[in-house]
């Protein structure tokens, strides 16, 4: 049977030193106080969300870039064929 583990494993963490913009740090400290969590939690969540958005943005650009490659350099008639519309010469019929 496929059972979900009862408890999720704690995320691996590493200590580091960062230099952050003072305004951002002040805002993060305010949020931490409001939510009654430590500053590391707020910074980690913000970083995680920022990285997620970055990944989504990169994926969007990759998809758009692949569409450009897939559909550029074709004439209107060729694009019709790629869209499933097959035209043939009237003289051939």
């Amino acid at each position: 049977m496929n059972r979900k583990p009862r408890f999720s494993l704690p995320l691996k963490k590493r200590r580091t030193t960062l230099t952050l913009p003072a305004d951002s740090l002040t805002e993060a400290q305010r949020i931490a106080r409001t939510r009654r969590v430590n500053l590391s939690t707020v910074i980690a969540e913000a970083l995680s969300e920022g990285l997620r958005l970055q990944t989504v943005g990169e994926r969007s650009e990759e998809v758009l870039e692949s569409y450009k490659k897939a559909f550029s350099g074709f004439s209107d008639e060729e694009m019709s064929i790629l869209d499933g519309v097959l035209l043939e010469s009237v003289n051939r019929r």
Binding site: L53, S60, L64, S72, E88
Partner: protein, 179 residues
């Protein structure tokens, strides 16, 4: 304007390429925003039409151009989003649509010295029915660039709801109305 966050949407074959090629900033922005929320959803029928198209162009092309066409095909297939299969449910709904509308509602395409054969037109019409059926089964709006065909299907479904229990209406969005 259709909010990109209100997806996911199923993209019809010509809508997918129209949006993929669009250079208007508002359309590009719409696509970027959409892709930040959802994948591009297409029917397996779209993949089939597209791959047939690449293959036909490749066969007709000079050797020097074949590599470019193959590169385009690979670029398309490498970043496919969600591909909906033509499964049992889609087949049932598509069959109902085809029975309601056995003949294409619009004539074969033509331009200058070129014309779509009746056989090709009928095949394309049936593929459109499968794509519409996929949108109905997936319960997602269909983004299209072919009002003549899909509006006919939508109207037919509305007139015979008993043949589409617990499904519909077919929700259609024209490409041009996106942004």
């Amino acid at each position: 304007m259709v909010p990109p966050s209100s997806g996911p949407f199923l993209f019809d074959t010509s809508a997918e390429s129209w949006l993929g090629r669009a250079e208007h900033p508002s359309i590009s922005a719409w696509m970027r925003e959409y892709l930040s929320h959802d994948e591009i959803h297409i029917s397996a029928v779209t993949v089939m039409e597209r791959v047939r198209g690449y293959s036909l162009l490749w066969r007709r092309a000079e050797k020097s151009r074949q590599e470019r066409i193959e590169g385009a095909r690979v670029a398309y297939l490498t970043k496919l989003g969600r591909v909906w299969p033509v499964d049992g449910a889609v087949a049932v709904v598509a069959g109902e649509i085809m029975a309601l509308l056995p003949d294409p509602p619009t004539p074969p395409r033509q331009s200058h010295q070129l014309r779509e054969s009746r056989q090709e037109r009928l095949a394309r019409w049936r593929f459109d029915a499968m794509i519409a059926a996929t949108a109905l089964v997936a319960r997602v709006p269909l983004i299209h660039n072919n009002a003549g065909d899909f509006e006919s299907i939508r109207t037919a479904i509305e007139r015979s709801p008993e043949r589409f229990p617990n499904l519909g209406p077919l929700d259609l969005i024209r490409c041009a109305s996106l942004a």
